[in-house]
């Protein structure tokens, strides 16, 4: 039974209990970190190894060569602080009447907390999912007789320069609007903020395609900074002296790594370029199942374990899944029908399908379409799409603490107030960026 003397602990424990039951965070994130949280700004450690360990041939009589395993500590910063501060005067009357903290107060408080932590964690996916693991409409600018893009390596990765617009200004023949062979739509052929953290690669003929690099910064519409997807700059899979993988051509998946080994991509001509999932792809009941298989494929190609995979989507996509022809009759077991725990509503294609309602699922504007060329280029803001992540539980680590919970005297009234402080933070260790894929879609 609640009294003012134990209200603080009772409120904190009941709100947290409801939050942990219903929030999406507990379904899609882990809490594997070392250290204790005591105050805002505290840091806890997550260890990650950026390099795969080499397995080499042993020759009797020959010395073994030693490999340096790149070891980096990722620190999770408890960066968020939220507080409750409300008067208890009328509540005390309700105690007398009901004998306990009113249920609607607890439900409302926990709903607010759920939305806050769910939105925070889901927002992380848009900046952390591995470049190359996005599913959407890729923007392709085909290589022509002149080089459309080039990369200069730097200490942290590289800088890519698109020559199209600059050339146009100088009276060349490049265009700032380019028809995308993927969907036939004319897009603005330059970098935009909406491209941040997506994958970028050079492309030429079918024999030479670079790996997907991560767009880490947009300097201008023609210049962007690139890093490896895990921000590594050296290791056993880097060519000697280079800070980006695959500079000799080939992404290692579709095409042989290092191409034919004869020429570095940097020195090649006629290169075009590509931005992965530049625009949102349409999600309908007719294609949603196929899109889920592409998400699963991206995880499979990165050798992500098949257990504990989750796909988080808005309610509209849940409806589409239920209507999808591949799921008729409902042969895919809806084992969570009835009681919904942590948002799980069904299981499909190796994923637990997690429903995130309201504004919890992040959105982002797509790449601008445009018309005209050169100085007459008229970009139009791209359609907004949802960022619907598919991930393994190991992808993101979440840490929280209800650090303060107290009943105090109000300063200027003869009354009591409740004050509570909740701290939280989340982090994706760099090596685990490959543990998620992302559908950038609209409906």
């Amino acid at each position: 039974m609640a009294t003012l003397s134990n209200f603080g602990e009772q409120f904190a424990s009941k709100v947290l209990q409801k939050t942990y039951q219903n929030s999406v965070v507990d379904a899609i994130a882990n809490r594997e970190y070392e250290g204790e949280i005591k105050k805002p700004g505290d840091r806890v450690n997550i260890l990650s190894f950026l390099n795969s360990i080499l397995l080499s041939d042993y020759t009797v009589g020959s010395d073994m060569s030693s490999e340096t395993i790149i070891d980096a500590e990722d620190q999770l910063i408890v960066e968020k602080r939220k507080y409750y501060n409300f008067s208890l005067d009328r509540l005390e009357d309700l105690f007398t009447y009901g004998g306990d903290i009113p249920e609607n107060l607890l439900t409302d408080a926990s709903k607010q907390l759920e939305k806050t932590i769910d939105s925070y964690v889901l927002d992380k996916f848009g900046s952390e999912v591995k470049a190359g693991n996005w599913v959407g409409v890729d923007l392709v600018v085909v290589g022509s007789s002149q080089t459309e893009a080039s990369i200069a390596t730097t200490a942290t990765g590289g800088t890519v320069t698109i020559t199209t617009y600059a050339e146009q200004i100088l009276g060349g023949t490049g265009y700032t609007t380019s028809e995308n062979p993927r969907d036939g739509v004319n897009y603005f052929a330059g970098f935009e903020t909406s491209d941040l953290y997506k994958g970028f690669r050079l492309r030429s003929t079918a024999a030479f395609v670079s790996p997907w690099y991560r767009i880490s910064g947009i300097t201008s519409s023609t210049v962007a900074t690139l890093t490896e997807w895990d921000e590594a700059v050296s290791g056993s899979d880097f060519a000697e002296g280079h800070t980006l993988r695959g500079l000799f051509g080939g992404d290692g998946i579709s095409f042989p790594k290092y191409g034919d080994g004869n020429a570095s991509l940097l020195a090649m001509g006629s290169l075009g370029w590509e931005i992965q999932a530049a625009a949102a792809t349409a999600v309908t009941s007719g294609v949603v199942y196929e899109q889920s298989t592409l998400l699963a494929q991206a995880l499979d190609e990165n050798e992500v374990p098949t257990e504990s995979r989750k796909w988080t989507v808005p309610p509209g996509v849940i409806t589409m899944l239920k209507q999808a022809s591949e799921l008729q009759p409902t042969g895919i077991a809806e084992i969570y029908s009835g009681t919904v725990l942590n948002g799980r509503v069904m299981r499909l294609g190796g994923f637990d399908i997690i429903q995130a309602a309201g504004t919890r699922v992040s959105t982002r504007a797509g790449h601008s379409t445009s018309s005209g060329t050169g100085a007459d280029t008229a970009p139009v803001a791209g359609a907004t799409g949802y960022l619907m992540p598919a991930n393994h539980m190991g992808f993101i680590t979440f840490a929280d603490k209800w650090s303060e919970s107290r009943v105090v005297d109000a300063e200027n009234q003869f009354a009591k107030k409740y004050q509570g402080l909740f701290l939280f933070g989340a982090k994706v260790p760099r090596y685990r960026r490959k543990y998620a894929s992302l559908l950038f879609g609209s409906f």
Binding site: G8, Q10, A12, S13, Q17, I37, W402
Partner: protein, 183 residues
């Protein structure tokens, strides 16, 4: 008449003559009482004498011994810590006698890195709640009803739960999710 020679009688000095003692008559009971007191007094005397001898020996020992070494001090400190730990254990067992049978399991629970730093009493309650050993025994199949009866709590006080939340948040969340915390 003839004078007989004077015969001097031997001088009797007062010292030579034993004084005549007063005769006191005692009852048997009084006699026994006095005898007993004489015995006790004699024993006390012996004890006192022995204690004085011991004290003398200790004093001479103290004077001749060196200042205690660091090892000795360390040993004493370890003994004191051990006595305190036993006392704390004894207090906890007195409060929760059911812990006696599962003490080794409890020590393993305390040595778990997740539970490090917990106060002994709080750790005992947390352990018992986890094991379900703190729930009050119910008679028959009656379920608790409302009204004036207080709902069954986890057995942990408000202060215990606050302490757990502040010092071992992971354990707090774990117990919360299992429904083992209720005020």
């Amino acid at each position: 008449m003839e004078n007989q020679p004077e015969v001097q009688e031997p001088q009797k000095t007062p010292e030579a003559e034993a004084p005549k003692a007063d005769v006191v008559t005692l009852s048997k009971k009084e006699f026994e009482d006095i005898s007993h007191r004489a015995d006790v007094s004699s024993q006390n005397f012996e004890r006192l004498k022995k204690a004085e001898e011991e004290l003398e020996a200790l004093r001479s020992n103290l004077v001749t011994n060196d200042v205690p070494s660091e090892d000795d001090v360390g040993k004493l400190k370890a003994e004191i810590a051990d006595i305190k730990a036993r006392q704390a254990k004894s207090d906890v067992l007195e409060t929760h006698p059911q812990l006696k049978e599962v003490w080794s399991e409890f020590e393993k629970f305390r040595s778990d890195p997740d539970n490090n730093g917990m106060n002994l009493k709080t750790a005992a309650k947390a352990f018992l709640v986890e094991k379900g050993l703190l729930e009050p025994q119910r008679k028959g199949l009656e379920k608790p009803t409302g009204g004036t009866r207080v709902p069954i709590s986890s057995g942990m006080s408000n202060e215990d739960i606050k302490n757990l939340r502040e010092t071992n948040y992971r354990k707090y969340i774990d117990m919360l999710k299992k429904g083992q915390l209720s005020i």
